[in-house]
Symmetry: C2
Subunit: 189 residues, 2 copies
């Protein structure tokens, strides 16, 4: 059973792209429906509300994000420091990509400051989970204060991401890479 892509898949892919590149509030349902070449009824048959689509978008991005962590673990088993270096390196690479527009979770959190909002809660959970994964690796690397290092890296990560897409032309990803390495070093020596 296979035509090309189900309506649901098309909607999610279009929405994921648009939400990421232009922001959630800025992209209306009508636009998503038009660009996925889907009927309005089909949209609401698959997603009860726009918020449900936002949650699906965030969960899709979270899967991608955690898969990078898995990748690092598989590439350098039992070498946590190398895992951290690898994650820093691929992030520093992805920042350079022309379509890079920051961390979807951070962006969502800033777009919906209201903690009661479903999108806010989902995005927050994604960020916390990711930081937990980094802290785990930092612990294996015997960092003096793994939670602090994870928090600092996420901090820098978050800042780099904002910086990069805000000020694309002048952004130098070396600055991120170097700073991240300095922080890791400062916890190991």
């Amino acid at each position: 059973m296979k035509k090309k892509e189900s309506a649901k898949e098309r909607i999610l892919n279009v929405a994921s792209e648009l939400f990421y590149s232009e922001g959630i509030r800025a992209v209306g349902i009508d636009r998503i429906i038009a660009e996925s070449e889907v009927a309005k009824a089909s949209f609401y048959r698959n997603f009860a509300t726009k918020d449900d689509l936002v949650v699906a978008f965030l969960e899709q991005r979270q899967i991608r994000s955690l898969s990078k962590v898995e990748e690092a673990k598989n590439l350098y088993p039992d070498e946590p420091v190398k895992q951290l270096h690898y994650l820093i390196r691929i992030l520093s690479e992805s920042i350079k990509h022309p379509n890079f527009r920051g961390c979807p979770f951070t962006n969502t959190l800033l777009e919906f400051p209201d903690a009661a909002h479903l999108g806010h809660q989902t995005a927050l959970k994604c960020r916390v989970d990711h930081e937990g994964e980094i802290a785990k690796i930092a612990r294996q690397a015997k960092a003096r204060n793994p939670e602090a290092l994870a928090a600092q890296l996420e901090m820098l990560y978050g800042g780099a991401i904002v910086d990069a897409y805000i000020n694309k032309p002048t952004f130098d990803s070396h600055n991120f890479y170097d700073a991240a390495m300095v922080l890791v070093e400062s916890q190991l020596t």
Copy 2:
């Protein structure tokens, strides 16, 4: 000539507070009008459009922000390293404040990703100017790469700010302070 506060002042103060704490898109004109206890006509006599009010809000915040830099210079003249330490310290303090909700410029940039938007352009200029001031101090401090250090500090600053207001309860401002100090040190020794 003095009653208490002109309509214009009341509008700007209320808007500044609401925009900062709840976001620009999330706060409508009607709400600002209601909370400033002003008539709609009075609002539009003072600000042609909502965008004009946004610009006024950003400019007000920029004045506050640059005044901190001036403060550092006045407190420690000809001691650029102490100026940097001071700025790191007061930021690390302000993050702890219960009303802290991040950097108004970053938030605005993320709320309006469209580079053509007036609010986006104004906020971008504010950030660039601020980074320029930090780079100037770093140069006086004879940092090996002053622009890189300024960029890294802004990066960390931006990340801390996002982190802090996103995850208030668990945020530890020591992490920011320590990381910033490590970065400064790494450029001086």
